[in-house]
């Protein structure tokens, strides 16, 4: 008997026979009157910042103004001719696209099949995540309605910079991943 069969047989023998129905996950839940504000506040509380791009400005101008001193800036689209993710080791700023933002927890959903190396999200010292300003949802209930994994792929919620409190509960920003995270709404 294979291990799979052995395990499944044991489970079949041992599991209770009564079955309660799968509950509805779409429960009555918190909504925010001002989602922009809630998102910005929450992101700030977890160490990141949210900025709304001024109407007359482009993303390029924003980057030029705010990240002037950085050497290596890589965007998702420029990863296609990089052969191994290890080459992204010293990226100072990664400019990436976020699909939508979640007001309750300051997270942004990132899933981009065009990005060749997901390592970009984690190796870069700073992240600039560009998100459509009309795509902030209240909670994870709305968020998961927007996510689809019918096909293979990788996606991640990122909420602020990488952090740890493993040394005496002292919060330190920048454990392994980004030390700075800015969500730019356009």
């Amino acid at each position: 008997m294979s291990s799979k069969e052995a395990i499944l047989n044991r489970i079949k023998k041992n599991r209770p026979s009564s079955t309660i129905d799968l509950p509805n996950t779409d429960i009555l839940h918190t909504k925010y009157r001002d989602k922009d504000k809630k998102f910005a506040m929450t992101l700030k509380s977890v160490g990141g910042k949210a900025i709304w791009l001024e109407d007359n400005k482009s993303v390029d101008e924003f980057i030029a103004e705010n990240y002037r001193d950085l050497d290596i800036i890589v965007s998702t689209y420029s990863t296609h001719n990089i052969d191994t993710p290890h080459l992204l080791e010293n990226v100072d700023l990664a400019v990436i696209k976020g699909e939508f933002a979640v007001a309750e927890n300051g997270a942004v959903w990132i899933k981009n099949p065009k990005n060749r190396h997901r390592a970009l999200y984690f190796l870069a010292t700073r992240l600039l995540i560009i998100v459509d300003k009309n795509s902030i949802c209240d909670t994870m209930h709305e968020a998961y309605k927007l996510i689809d994994f019918s096909r293979a792929g990788y996606g991640v919620f990122i909420s602020g910079p990488s952090k740890t409190a493993d040394i005496e509960q002292a919060l330190v920003i920048g454990a392994h991943g980004a030390i700075e995270v800015c969500v730019l709404f356009v």
Partner: protein, 453 residues
């Protein structure tokens, strides 16, 4: 050695005990703040608990669904009956890929399987990459908490450890400095790793993918560089639908540390370019717990650690006093289910205050389970001789009301006039760190009778 003997070592240093207690209470308070911000908190717990119950009742079905869908996405699935088989699978995968250096992110399951020593014996370098885990790994210790592995250590101790292994500045124990040094040290490990191993927070039957939650991003960096990713999961990590995550991601981090969500919530439904993702589904005693209606709910655990943080016993006795891989209330019930003989003192490391059951996001009746385990300890004849004798005498006295009244009277009269050396003699374990209350003149029964006259 039982829990209380091990705990007595920890409490011997009262300053450290209080420090530990406070550190964890601080985390518990953050959890409360986060939970109270949501009106639907109790609803979330109810739904989480129902999803888990439903899934456990049909676990075989969902595991097969998961396997089918994961395979369709090109992921590889392995099944392991026990720890030994799990470790063999890992080793064989590593050998097949010529992997010598492995980075691992936090996984209580691999702790349970004692994977690290096994791989080291087979000449594979395995590096824990969660900062807390790396600290205890360098010190050759086990994690003392399931979410905060190094919570028992002071920064000076961490500083010393880093001085020894990472060549950090002498006596510099600033957490930011130490974390930055660890970042450099571990970056190098990530960039030179041949394979990565992670745990699994949730495995989605419907989509055939797994979800891993971290704050540091170690699982995420670790899996995005080397070509081989091995994810180990217990059979109970399955959830039926993608949308179930809307419930669990709202509960997990709030319960664990009071954050609204972990910094990274990675959804793996594909390996990296040119890579392979292997998922090992491990039983290792879990299916036995399923058959016991008293304890099967312990499989609903999402390893948030809230029950540890709130437990008055855990906070004051530390993770190592339990002598089981998972400490605290959830560890006590899991340990007792696994091996009652070896863990017979754990169900008693509990005041039955029920705080654990109240904070548990999946609504596990932890204190009820510990109470039931106690009864099983007694039934199995595993109670110590002294405790058994005391219980016998107490039960006998309580069954004889007149005798009970009389003894109460004698104690009330005699104890106050006895010399301290007798009352607080060695036999009075309770009085070692405590003072007896002042004895009243009359018993409750006497007072009550006077009242209703």
């Amino acid at each position: 050695m039982g829990h209380s003997e091990k705990a007595s070592k920890f409490v011997a240093n009262s300053e450290r005990m209080h420090w530990h207690d406070k550190a964890l209470w601080f985390v518990r308070e953050k959890r409360d703040l986060a939970a109270h911000q949501l009106d639907e908190w109790e609803e979330l717990r109810r739904v989480a608990s129902e999803i888990k119950s439903h899934t456990m009742d049909r676990l075989d079905y969902y595991l097969e669904e998961f396997e089918k869908n994961a395979k369709q996405k090109g992921l590889h699935i392995h099944w392991a009956r026990d720890a030994r088989e799990h470790n063999e699978i890992v080793l064989n995968l590593l050998l097949a890929h010529g992997a010598k250096r492995v980075v691992k992110s936090k996984s209580m399951l691999t702790e349970e399987c004692h994977l690290n020593p096994f791989l080291e014996k087979n000449n594979i370098e395995i590096v824990d990459t969660d900062l807390g885990e790396r600290i205890v790994q360098l010190r050759r210790e086990a994690p003392s908490h399931i979410v905060l592995p190094a919570i028992h250590l002071k920064k000076e101790e961490v500083g010393k450890t880093f001085e020894e292994f990472l060549n950090t500045q002498k006596d510099n124990c600033d957490p930011t400095y130490l974390t930055r040094e660890a970042r450099k040290h571990l970056r190098e490990k990530f960039l030179t790793a041949d394979a990565s191993i992670t745990g699994v927070n949730f495995a989605i039957a419907q989509t055939g993918g797994v979800v891993v939650c971290t704050n540091e991003g170690n699982a995420d960096i670790g899996t995005s560089l080397p070509k081989l990713h091995i994810a180990s999961m217990g059979i109970e990590k399955i959830i039926p639908r993608l949308e179930d995550l809307s419930i669990f991601t709202r509960l997990l981090a709030r319960s664990a540390t009071g954050q609204p969500i972990t910094t990274y919530t990675s959804h793996f439904h594909a390996p990296i370019e040119g890579g392979e993702l292997h998922i090992i589904i491990v039983d290792n005693g879990r299916s036995d717990i399923l058959s016991n209606s008293d304890f099967k709910e312990s499989l609903h655990c999402i390893r948030c650690g809230a029950c540890l943080n709130t437990c008055p016993v855990y906070r004051r006795s530390g993770g190592y006093s339990y002598g089981y891989i998972i400490p605290g209330p959830i560890g006590s019930t899991l340990g007792a289910s696994r091996d009652l003989q070896a863990n017979k003192t754990l169900p008693f490391a509990c005041t039955l205050c029920a705080s654990c059951s109240n904070v548990c996001p999946s609504k596990i009746g932890l204190h009820n389970q510990l109470y039931k385990h106690r009864q099983n300890v007694v039934k199995a004849g595993l109670l110590g001789a002294k405790k058994r004798a005391i219980l016998k005498v107490t039960a006998w006295v309580m069954k004889h009301p007149l005798l009970f009244d009389f003894m109460g009277l004698v104690v009330r009269k005699i104890v106050p006039i006895l010399p301290r050396s007798i009352v607080y003699s060695k036999a009075n374990v309770w009085g070692r760190n405590r003072e007896l209350p002042k004895f009243p003149k009359k018993s409750f029964k006497e007072l009550y009778k006077e009242r209703i006259k």
